[in-house]
Each structure stands twice: as C-alpha cells, then as structure tokens.
C-alpha cells in the first residue's frame, strides 16, 4: 500500500449514494427512437456516414471524421435512420445540435464483427481498435481515448492510475460498474498496461465503496498476469479529479499548464477500461453506458445500463417517474458539477453519468440575489486546486480577465466547493465559467483577426507585386521600343520607311490632283 497524500482543501459531503444502490444493475429497455448527437466528445464534429432511410445494424459506425482527435459514433441497436437534423441535446445552453435519429426495430441485430487476434496485436494495433470503437474518457471529460493513449505512449509512463473514485454525491454508476464488471475493469487495465508499459499501476477507490473494493480485489487476485495495486482512499470531495487523485496517490502535483503525462502519469476511468475490454475482446464499440438515475424527486432510483441516444424521459419512466411532477428540476451530472436541463427530451450521451431529478433548484442559477463577499476566506480553505477564489471573484466580476488569469483561473476545475461553502451564497463557479468562456471567445476572436491580418497583408503584397510587375513589363516594352527605334535610327543611312499616315495623305492628295487634271 503506497503512502497516501492529501490535496489542499476539499469537502466531506453527504454521499446520498445508498438511494441508487438498493437494486443491482438494471438493463434499460429500448425506446422507440434513439437520438445520437454527431459529437459526443471533445473535438471536431463528426460527419454522418448514413443517409435517411438507411437500415443500420447494432454496432455499425454511423458518424466519424478524419481529424486526429476523434471518436466515431455507432448505432446502439438495429433500425432505420429516420432523420438527420437538429434536436435538443444535453448542454447547458439548452441549444440543439445535429443528431441522427434511429427508429428502433426491436430486433437488436448486430453487425458482423471480425475479432482481432489479441495475442498478435501490438500497442498501435490496439490503439487503432480503440479508436474505431469510438471510446472516450467516461469519467466526464469525454476526451477521445486513442489520441490520449498515443500521446501517453510517446511520453513514456511510469505510473498508470485507474480512477474508481466517483466522489460526487448521488452518483454511483462507477461503483455499480466495479461491483458488476470488476473482471472487465481489471482486464482493461491489463490492456492499458500492454500499451503504455508503466512501471506501476494503482487503482484508486474511495473507502465508501467497500463492495466495489472487494469485487475488484477478487478480480485482481484471479488475474495472475496483471500486476496492479488497489488503493482505498479517504472519501473527500473532489478526490476523483485527475490532478487531485494523482496528488493523493503519488504526492506529485501536475504543474500549471501541463498535463499528467508530462510528469509520466496516465489516468483512466474504470468505465473506460470496461469499454476498452469490450472493444478488444468482442469488437464491440461504445454503444451503451451505465447511468445513475437518482435525486429526491425520483420514485425508484437506481443504475441502468442504457443504450446511447435513449431520451432521458424514457429513463425517468423506468425509474418510476417523478414524485412531484410539478417541481421536477433535472440535472445532468452530479449536484456539484452538473448543469440544469430544460427538459427530459434530451438523449443520454457518452458523457452522461448521472441524471438527477430534484424537487428544488439546487444548482446555482445565473440570475438571482446574492449577498456581498464578506472576505471570510472559506473558499480559499476548501479550494482543491489551491487557488484564491475570492481574488478570482473580484477580477472575474470586474471583467478583468488578465488579472483573473494571473491568478490561474484556467486551473479551476469547477468543482463547486467554493460556491457551496460561501456564506453569502455567491455562485462563484458561475462567475469563473462565464469568465472562462469570455476568455475562450476572445482567444478565438484573436486567432481569427490574426488570420485576417495575414490575409490582408498578403493581398496587399500581392497587389503591390502585380503593380510592380505591370510597371516592369511596361518599362521593358518601352525600352524595347526605344532600342528598336535606336537600331532603326542607326540604319537611317538607307531611306527610312515612309510614315504610313503621311503616305496615305500623299496618296489622297495625288488622287485629288489626278481627278482635277482629268476634269476639263
């Protein structure tokens, strides 16, 4: 057991985990229609590979793109492509995004897959298969796994960390996954080891999940060829944050502006490990995930294995519906880091770990009264990123983006600890998120204006060049003419060619004269 370290701040929150753990893992039924957003990962949007009216089979790739950071989308079941268009998606903006709608035929017919010879496969071959399966980090960041693996492999990894922490209240999908599919998590860890060749592998699980720890330990004991260590860590929010978990397990801090692999570490969520196992062993792409449905407004909370694209309302129905229909506040994600949804008609995507239905609005809203900051400093005490939330508050509120960045706004993980302890009820994270998106927008505007400047200057140069060339041509023509004249002038000893105008005039004169002479 390695020595455990402590990250700065954090909170001990009421878990609310038991509600959704009363039943085992349940299989969600298929809804009549699945809505699959073309983009469910961080990176460029995918292009549809199917057309309206096409029949698709379970596991068939239906959207992809050719950029480096990509995660393709697959049909979660068999059916017919009913439409491709804009539909509401789970996004804090409440905006619509392009989705492929599949009318489910209920036969759940799978596309044929060719199983790879796992023994023969090298690291790059495995990364290729993971890429084709559309796997993304299922811990919440939804960063495509294959480019992350390629970069990790290139950097050289000394410690592989498997994240089974799941620190946010209410959420139990990873807990359920570890209880249910521990063997697959461990085998997935083995594949990651084969790709990354770390010296050491640590599997971090919070001590409020004894069943998961037991299941994982048993699975690990059975797998003789996999050398890893399961580490039980104290339950403190947000231990599941990548940088926080790294600090707990290794005592090392990821420096500002760097990523885990810059210091030889690689983190992956347990759910991603299972997805990797299924992709490599069964050729199964990422078409389903475990989702926790919970909250004080849900009749029968629990965990469901859900096909991607299933509308949330369908899932709420499976969980017995709302207790109080009139006051249903839906949250995608947990109560600390999740965001409010405007309605249940949005699909489950790769990032959806939890759906909460609350009786009261628990997410800090943008519009509303809050007291003034009394400079108590509680936010600073709890900040797990060791920032100064109060300073960030002043600067983001004053829209002093540069000052906010000097206080490392970009290192804020938006965990919500500061907001939740603020005695004045200031929605601090809201201020930071707004500031971050302003800074991002300013950055992309700057990039665009830089491009416009280059294009403008290039055009100016081109026009100038054209002018110069024209002048040069004219000059050359003039010179050639002068030379010709000069050369003909030199040969002037012979009579010069008569001027054609003069000659014509003389001809006319002669003709007139002749006419006059003719007339008597």
């Amino acid at each position: 057991m390695p020595e455990l370290h402590r990250f700065h701040g954090g909170l001990r929150l009421e878990g609310h985990k038991s509600e959704s753990l009363r039943h085992g893992l349940q299989q969600a039924s298929l809804p009549p229609r699945l809505y699959l957003p073309l983009r469910q990962h961080i990176g460029e949007q995918n292009n549809p590979l199917v057309e309206v009216g096409d029949r698709v089979l379970k596991g068939q790739m239906i959207a992809a793109n050719s950029s480096l950071i990509c995660a393709s989308v697959h049909a979660p079941t068999s059916g017919r492509v009913e439409s491709i268009g804009s539909y509401p998606v789970a996004h804090p903006s409440g905006q619509a995004d392009t989705c492929i709608v599949i009318e489910v035929d209920g036969r759940d017919e799978a596309a044929e897959t060719k199983l790879p010879d796992l023994e023969q496969l090298d690291a790059d071959g495995m990364i290729e298969l993971i890429c084709r399966a559309g796997i993304v980090g299922l811990g919440g960041a939804v960063f495509p796994t294959s480019p992350k693996l390629s970069r990790g492999k290139a950097h050289g990894i000394d410690t592989l960390i498997i994240n089974g922490v799941e620190c946010e209240p209410y959420i139990t999908c990873d807990d359920m996954l570890m209880r249910h599919d521990a063997a697959e998590v461990i085998r997935g860890t083995g594949y990651l080891q084969r790709i990354l060749r770390p010296k050491k592998t640590l599997i971090g699980i919070e001590d409020n999940k004894p069943e998961a720890i037991a299941a994982m330990s048993a699975a690990l004991a059975e797998a003789d060829d996999i050398d890893a260590e399961i580490v039980s860590i104290p339950t403190i929010y947000p231990s599941g944050g990548e940088k926080q978990l790294i600090q707990i397990l290794t005592g090392r801090e990821v420096p500002h502006g760097q990523l885990a692999f810059d210091i030889g570490l690689y983190c992956q969520n347990v759910g991603t490990c299972v997805a990797i196992t299924r992709a490599l062993e069964r050729g199964e792409p990422l078409i389903s995930r475990i989702v926790t449905v919970s909250g004080d407004n849900i009749r029968s909370p629990g965990n469901w294995e859900v096909r991607l694209g299933t509308p949330i309302s369908h899932l709420i129905g499976l969980a017995g519906g709302y207790v109080d229909d009139d006051n249903a506040h839906l949250i995608m994600g947990g109560p600390m880091m999740g965001f409010s949804l405007r309605g249940g008609e949005v699909p489950i995507v790769k990032a959806s770990n939890c759906i909460l239905a609350m009786r009261e609005q628990t997410i800090p809203q943008a519009v509303g009264y809050h007291d003034e900051c009394i400079r108590c400093g509680k936010c600073t005490e709890v900040c797990p990123a060791n920032l100064l939330p109060q300073q960030l508050y002043w600067h983001t509120r004053a829209k002093a983006w540069e000052r906010a960045q000097e206080f490392h706004l970009s290192d804020c993980i938006e965990c919500g600890c500061c907001s939740s302890v603020c005695p004045s009820g200031i929605p601090l994270v809201q201020y930071y998120r707004a500031a971050k998106s302003e800074i991002r927008a300013a950055h992309s505007a700057r990039l665009k204006s830089d491009r416009a400047r280059i294009r403008f200057e290039f055009r100016e140069r081109r026009l100038q060049l054209k002018k110069q060339q024209e002048e040069e041509r004219r000059r050359q023509k003039r010179e050639a003419l002068q030379k010709k004249r000069a050369s003909t002038g030199d040969a002037e000893t012979t009579p010069a060619a008569p001027d054609p105008v003069q000659a014509a005039l003389e001809r006319v004169k002669a003709r007139k004269q002749a006419a006059q002479e003719e007339s008597p």
Partner: protein, 175 residues
C-alpha cells in the same frame, strides 16, 4: 566612466535597434482586423499608424466596439472615449456576407473589393464567400451591380456558446 557608458549605450542602440514601430504593432494587434475602412483609413494598420502618430482618436473603430477602445486606452494610457457614432454602430453579433448564388452574374467586382480574399469565383462564374475567412466588413456590398450580397449574423453554435455571468439582483427592500 561617463564616456564608457556612452559607448556602451551607443553600441546597444545600434546592436539592439528595433525594426519598425513596435507601438504600431501593439495597436494593430488590438484592432479587429476587419479591414472595413469605417475609421476612414485604408485598413487596420493605417489606422494603427495614425493612432500611434497621434493623428486619430481611439474611438473610430465600430467593429471593435467599446472593448477595443478600452484596450487601446489601456495600452496608450489615455482616457476611455465613447465610440464615435459617425463611424458606425457596433454589432454585438458578428456579421458574415452571403452571396445569393442564383442572382450572382460573376462580375468579380466583389472579389476585387474583399480586403481578405474571402470571396471565391471567376469571371462569368458564380462567386461564393468563404464564411470562415469573412470579416463582415461590408466592402463587397457597394460594388455589386445586382445587389446579391447580404450580411447575416453569424449563427451561434454550441461551440461558441458562452456561460452568462451571474446577474446579482438587488435585495428586496423590507418595508
């Protein structure tokens, strides 16, 4: 001693000579590079030069709006001015030109007018705007003989959506 420093400074002035006017570059970097000419100068850089020479006030750039004025005032350590309405209004949502391809006669006049080469086409062939490169300067509108170019607001997508900052309400006064 003084002579020695004089020599050192004299050498440094030659050795570390700054090419061009760095202030113009700094000002130019803050301007939106729309190249629209609404400031009455032939582009963003000429306007930047005019500001650097003290010939133009900092409030003549409508595409940049108040944010640019504040940034310029910050850089030049001058007073923040209101945008001069004579030069035009600031549009919060950026615009992009779109050519009605049914009406376009392929005269190439707009191509010649575009300061950033964002219009593609050839004589007697339909033209089209490269939306990503269009700065929304509207310079292509006047030369078009058939009026087939429209300026439309850039569509907001999930990618450029922004979290709105909290709007603290005033507390309700207790009577």
């Amino acid at each position: 001693m003084a002579g020695l420093f004089g020599l050192v400074l004299g050498y440094a002035a030659i050795r570390f000579r700054v090419e061009g006017n760095p202030l113009v570059d700094q000002i130019d970097a803050l301007l939106p590079q729309t190249q629209c000419g609404q400031c009455t100068y032939a582009g963003c850089r000429p306007y930047a030069e005019a500001i650097a020479n003290g010939e133009a006030p900092i409030n003549q750039c409508p595409p940049g709006g108040q944010a640019t004025i504040v940034a310029l005032a910050d850089l030049l350590d001058t007073e923040v001015l209101e945008l001069n309405a004579e030069h035009g209004e600031h549009n919060e949502i950026p615009l992009v030109a779109i050519i009605d391809e049914q009406t376009c006669i392929g005269c190439t006049l707009c191509i010649q007018a575009c300061p950033v080469d964002a219009i593609l086409g050839a004589a007697k062939h339909m033209h089209t705007v490269i939306a990503d490169e269009c700065t929304g300067c509207k310079l292509c509108l006047p030369p078009c003989p058939v009026d087939c170019i429209d300026m439309v607001p850039v569509e907001q997508t999930i990618d450029d959506w922004k979290w709105s900052p909290p709007q603290p309400l005033e507390p309700v006064a207790h009577a």
